[in-house]
Structures are given as C-alpha cells and as structure tokens.
Subunit: 481 residues, 2 copies
C-alpha cells in the first residue's frame, strides 16, 4: 500500500475528534518514523489518543479516508513493527499511561497500553507482587508494545512470555467497535465461549488496536540468587546451558554471551576491557523461598565446573547483582558503539541444540567473513545474533544478507524459529514462508481479513510482498556498475 | 442446517478413504448421537479416523458432499458440543489414542486427541511429571474433548485450565489442509509470528479438527495435603472460600458442595446418609515441597474455625484422601439417581462474590419452587448449579427454564460468565448474546467464517439460531390445551 495522503479536511476531522491531541508538523512526524531498525517510514499525522473513545473516532475517520493506522508503543522494536511504512496515522500511546487498577486479591492489574513495563513492575512490587515478563527494553518499552510483539526476556525461562500474563484485553477494531475479552469482559477468571484475546498477543497491531490490558501478576519471590560463570569457549558455555536444562535446575534466568560481546559490554560499563579475556559467559539466577534455594548452588556449581567454567561467582549483595545485570543490559548499547552498524536477528532453537546452532553460526561468520556476535536468553533457546558491519560498505551488506538467510535456515533446520521475541514486522516478512507452511499462511491471511477487512491496520507488516528495506541499496545497481 | 443426507456413493467414498473404519449402521449411529445432556442428534455415519490423513480425506469428501463434520471425544459434555444435531459425520477419535512422545527435559507430551486425560496423567506421573488439568470426567474424557471445551477442574485454582497447557496443535481445516502450530511447528518453545493455536482451545470443534496436541507438563508435587470442613450453612462455607482467597493461601484444590449434595453423595458412596447433617462442605488441598506446606494447616484452620466450621479434618493417609475424593467425584452420578431429571448449569463468578451468588440462587430456587443444588470449583468461582426436576412434568420444565434465565442473569450481574468450563454448545447458544456484546459476536462470526468458510464444521454450535432443544416440548402446545 503506497501513497496514502492526508487531506486538510481529514486532518481537521482528526484534530476535532481528539481535541487537538495530534500533530502533522514534520518535526513531530519524523519522531514517529523509526524504531530500532534503520528503516524509516514517515506518518502523515501523529495522534496521541487519551482514551479508547479517541481511538474509536480516529479509526472511523481512517477507515473512511482510507488512511493506514499504525499503533505504536515506545518504538524500541527490532523488526519495524511500529514504523508507518505506508504513511497514515501513527497512533502513539504516550498519553494513555494509567495503571487503572491493581487487584491484589485477584492478582490482576488493569493498565493502559502506554504504561512502561518497568513502571508497572515497580508499582506492583510495592504491593508484594511482581510482573515477570522483562524484555531488555523494560525501562522504556510499553505494555502495549509488549503485547503487540509477545515480548519475552531473561525470566521467560521460568515465567513464560507476555502472552502467559494477558488475561483480558480491550480492543478497538477498524470498524470502530470496542471489544472486551477475558477479565475485562467479566470480572471472573473465565469467560464464555472461546476468547479472541489470545490471538491479539504477538499480532503486532495488525488485528485490532489494544486500548486496555488486564495482566496476571505473581507473588514477588522471597529471595533471588545471582551467579556468574565464564568459559574458555562459547561451546563450553552452550554445553553448560544444555546440562543445566537437562538437570532440571529451576533457573529463573539463564543468559549467555560470547567473548566479544562480554568484552564490549564490560568496557562500556567499566570503562576498560576485562583483565582476562573469556570466550563465553553465563548469567544465572534462581528465585523463590530462601529454604528452597539453599541447595541450588550445590547443584549448579558442579555442572559449571564440569563444563570448564572459570571465574565462577555468586553475587554477595544487591550491588554486585546490579553490576552483573548492568553488563547484560548494556550489551545492545555497547555493540551499537562498536562499529558503523549491526544487523540484529532473533532466532530461537530448542535449548539442547544451542551448541549446534553456535557451531553453525561460527561457520557462517567465517564463510561471509563478517563478525557475528551472539548473546541472549539461552534458558529458552532464544539467541540474539548480531552481524557487525559497515552499512555503507556494499560488500558488507551483500554478505550480511547471505548471512541472515543462512542463519534463519540453520535455526529452522534445528527445529527453531525465525523470531523468539522480536516479531516479524517488516524485516522478517520475506522469510515467513520458510517457517510457516502454505495452510498456516492461508489461515493467517483469512483471520487478518476477518478482523480487519479494511486492510488499513498496520499494513505491510508480518504479511507483505514488500522487500526488506535493509537490502534496498543492493537491489539498485551498484554505484559505478 | 437441516436434512443433510449421505448418499451411498459418498458412503463408499468415505469407506475407501478410511479403509472401512466407519459405520452407517443404525446401532452404531445411535451410540454417537448423545452426550451428557438429554439432547439427541443422529449422525449419518460414524467415522473412526486412525491418522491425520484419514481426517484430511474425510473433510475433503464432506466439503464436496456438503456433509456436516462433528468431532467427538468421549461424549461427556454438558452442553451438546459433540452431538451431531445437523446429522452428517460423527468423527470419533477412539482409534487415535497414541501418546507419541513424552519429552521429560522439555516437559512436553505430544498426544493424539483420543488419549484419555487420566491415562496421560498416569503415564507422565510414572516419569515424575504431571498434567494438572483434571475435569471431573478425567477417567473417560479425552484430551481432544478437553481442548475443544477448554476443560478445567478442581486444580484449576492453582494450575489454570487446559488452555494454559496447550503449547502446540496439529489441525485439519475444512479445506483439507494440515496446520501445525507452536511446539508442533518448531520444536522450540516459541514460534514465528502470532499463533492461531490459542484460538482453537475452547472453540468446541467449530474452527478446525484437532489431530495432535502438544501439552506442557509440570513437576509432580512432592507432597499433597487434603483437608475437609463442614459448615452449618452454605453461606458460611462460601464465606470461608472468600476468606481463604483473600488471605492468599496457595490452595491447589478448593471445592464446595451444599448440604443436599453432600448427603446425596455420601449416601451413594457409603450406602447410608451421614450421621450428622451439614449444610455445606469444603474439600481443600495444598501441594508442593513438604517444608513449604508445614505452616499451611496453621493458616487454614483458624480461617475455617472463624467461619464456624465443624468436623474439620486432615486426611491422614492416601486411603482417607481417596474417601474424601470419592465423595466429590461421585456427586454427578449420585444426583443422577436422585430424581427423574436435573438440569446442570455451569456458571462462574468472581470468587469474592460466591456468597452473593449463593444467596441469589437460593432466592431463585424458592421463587420457582424447585430444588437447586450447588457444588463446584469454588477456588476459581466456578459453580455447578443443578435444578432438580421431573422432565415429564411440564410445570417443572416451565419453571426450570425461568430458573436457568434467572441464574444466568444473576451470574452476569455479578461480573460472572455463562460457562466456566462446559462450553456453550447447543444449550447455551441462545444466551450467548447476553454475555458477549455485538462487536465481540461479530468478530466471533468473522473468525469462524475465516477458518471454516464451508460452515460444515460442527454447525449450530456456539453460534446458532436453533432454540435450545431442552425446551422443545414447551414450545409445542401443551397436551390437552
């Protein structure tokens, strides 16, 4: 879908509908044209709805005027899901940030989509509860965005992903209807008939606009213990992951990183490279009642040692824990400083096959002659692989494109998936047919058409014939060719 | 949809497609015409598929011949979901009972839909794992049926419902495509894009035929403690439920029953009425590590005592535990012997509002002058209310119909739902619009049409203009009128 245009008349209609909470100024539109990819798509107008009624009014106008509607959280996505690639309306939820209710007895919070993940966690933790899904972006990313992408995080290994916590949704469909599902339909834990709610999680804003979310909370753990281990090779670290998994240690966090990633993040956090170089590291946590955790280190340590771990340590206090986490959480920021570009992919494989994937990744890195750094949520098999390159270097881009295809093939061959938690968006749409067979794609299309017959809701995402804009330059004739 | 007819030619086609694993003999068709309601619907043919390929072949023939297809588990449903009310093909999964895989490391079992719930549990318990969802029908009902209805059970209060355990599905759609979702698409825990799988759970076989299910397993609890308490009034028992919930005691079972139910089930199990009459009882369990449970009785007992409980006891061994459970599990069978009929409804309300619902139920019982017995899964607010009557007595039926409407209204007014775990099927379809608003119904219709454009998959279930057959006689002129 191309060339949507906002007329002055429609713009005035929108302004009236949302009492001026919108802007068609170029400087505002630019601010909503991007996410964490390098892709850009300029909206025709930015709208900041303040209520579900605003959203209803806006989608009705958009339907009539044939304007795309692109819901947007904090814009931290890695696959272009929130980029208005076809123009139209960027629907940003920065003004819908209310935590409307925390029902401590029912262990359910009702929040607006613009609530920042970490703000929700801090609020409910003050009540003795917690909200486990913890994407690395948690300090900025919003619940609406987390729901759209089905966000996961380090604690997913024990607690599952966002979808495991959504117990009710308020949705606005493109015909301007409001639908409430689950907890938001009836205050009880169950609801009549089948619930279209679960379909929305991970649909990247292509089926309906989420305007309220009911989230299940859990009891905050009594105690958390944090451990760290380094290894002489990434293979050894991966082997330790497989052994910990097979042993059934109930880890709540099991993060892996390779030597370059570790060195880069350490330097970023500490201002200097680590004293001794390691080729792999694991950040491990267990949580629960203090008594239950007493024996845990006794189970973990021998496994780590048998895999050749060095520098094994247990964080002795909250400060030491924060230091270890700061290294982990700084990875993306530190890698961004490393070169003139990176392409971040987000595959997942069964945990037992991480060592096989790492070996394959290393082979691909050699074949294309580009560094590929890996880190991620080893506990649920979700690895972030980063191809380091200079985006201005055409040869780098040609080889990166090959590497991406090879990495996806390798993951799928190992029984894995294209996307652990970043969604499909724009950048992976061209690869979706490699994972989903024809019948599954047909159902995906049919359901999308059923929910949004207009085709205006976040168009050209997930299902798209649009080539991945990353490789646009490669399709143009080379300069001088 | 009425008057579907099976021609001899189509019958021969089906016979060839499933290598004779089918029957159009009247005696066989009768065996597949019912469930636990009193409704009957004779299929034109019964097919026992032995593989997904059989199912594909059968739905292709059915689509061409315009024959309804009605998937069926053990036929224990309470709302008519598996009754071939429009004729056509009864697709019974009695020959697809393979537990194909139990992956102890991944804690996932892959099973065919005909596997009996309790057979799966016994198998995985021998491996130190368990499958928590435990509908009262667990000794006969099948995983396929459990998935279709989104079955719950006593342990739902702690563990959730069937939907919380489905991590992958193999589906056959009415166009004869096979779709694999989640764990059955990629062996990892996550899958690309959004997953139509969750939509299937609770869809009562109206969207696709399930031919394989991947189920998440959990660690078997180290210890289970079972408690029993009786009360001078049902209100007191309901108050105890609300207090236990508010206190946050992590009960794994919290079952309630009223005095008549208790007397009836006790007599059924023990051969004589209880020595002293109680007006309410609770069956309570906690489970986990022995150390964690040590303090639990100390928390529960004062709550029970403060609500006036008498006859408080803790089961001292497995025999005593079995006795208590036998009373609970015999309720339905014992009530069936009590009169010449009952109408079983399955509402749910927020747990804190159970006392209010019970008061309203008692008022309704007086108003219509029919006994209404209540028992159920108080822990998740799910109550089974049984209107006791003589089905041949027209006045009883008139009053029962009024009572059902009043009970549903009462549940909805309290923020509850029409159906906790029995589905909508045939008997509740006429009430669905009281719970779902117009937009939600529209989406339900659109999604169903997207998945099954033929309209042949379990027609006239959930969404139907067909009046509830229970009241058929009331619509005919009264005899002698």
């Amino acid at each position: 879908m191309e060339g949507s245009r906002l007329t002055k008349a429609v713009q005035r209609e929108i302004e009236a509908a949302v009492q001026g909470s919108c802007s068609a100024a170029r400087e505002d539109r630019i601010c909503y044209s991007f996410d964490a990819t390098d892709i850009r798509g300029l909206p025709d107008i930015v709208v900041w709805p303040e209520s579900p009624d605003h959203v209803v009014a806006v989608v009705k106008i958009a339907s009539r005027a044939r304007l795309p509607v692109v819901p947007r959280g904090a814009g931290t996505g890695y696959t272009g899901g929130s980029i208005p690639i076809c123009g139209g309306i960027a629907l940003s939820f920065e003004k819908m940030t209310r935590i409307a209710d925390v029902n401590v007895t029912a262990r359910v919070a009702v929040v607006e989509p613009g609530v920042v993940n970490d703000d929700l966690r801090n609020t409910v933790e003050s009540l003795g509860l917690t909200y486990p899904p913890d994407p690395a972006s948690l300090k900025v990313s919003t619940i609406g965005g987390n729901v759209a992408e089905g966000a996961a995080g380090p604690r997913t290994v024990l607690y599952g992903t966002t979808g495991d916590y959504v117990v009710g949704l308020e949705l606005v469909t493109m015909d301007g209807s409001i639908i409430r599902t689950g907890y938001l339909a009836s205050a009880s834990d169950v609801s009549a008939a089948w619930d279209p709610g679960p379909l929305i999680v991970g649909s990247e804003g292509t089926l309906a606009v989420v305007t309220n979310v009911a989230l299940r909370l859990t009891d905050a753990p009594e105690v958390t213990r944090t451990y760290w281990a380094e290894f002489g090779s990434l293979d050894d670290a991966a082997a330790a992951v497989a052994m910990i998994t097979a042993d059934g240690v109930p880890v709540s966090v099991l993060e892996i990183m390779d030597g370059d990633t570790l060195a880069c993040a350490t330097e970023y956090v500490c201002g200097r490279a680590p004293d001794t170089r390691s080729e792999g590291a694991l950040l491990i946590e267990v949580e629960g009642a203090a008594d239950d955790l007493a024996g845990m280190w006794g189970r973990l340590r021998p496994i780590l040692e048998s895999c050749g771990a060095t520098g094994i340590r247990a964080a002795s206090d909250e400060n030491e824990r924060d230091e270890l986490w700061e290294i982990r959480r700084s990875i993306s920021a530190s890698l961004a400083r490393l070169g003139t570009g990176k392409i971040n992919e987000d595959i997942a494989v069964p945990r037992s096959r991480i060592p096989m994937f790492i070996a394959e990744m290393r082979r691909i890195s050699e074949e294309v002659n580009l560094p590929i750094l890996a880190f991620g949520h080893a506990g649920d098999g979700n690895l972030h692989v980063n191809i380091m390159l200079d985006r201005a270097n055409r040869s780098h881009m040609v080889r990166a494109q090959q590497a991406v295809s090879m990495l996806f093939s390798a993951a799928l061959k190992l029984g894995g998936t294209l996307s652990g938690e970043h969604g499909i968006g724009i950048t992976k749409a061209e690869h979706l047919a490699e994972e989903l067979d024809e019948a599954a794609l047909r159902v995906t299309v049919a359901v999308r058409r059923a929910l949004d017959p207009s085709g205006l809701l976040n168009p050209d995402k997930i299902l798209s014939d649009r080539p991945n804009p990353w490789w646009d330059d490669l399709r143009a004739p080379a300069v001088g060719a």
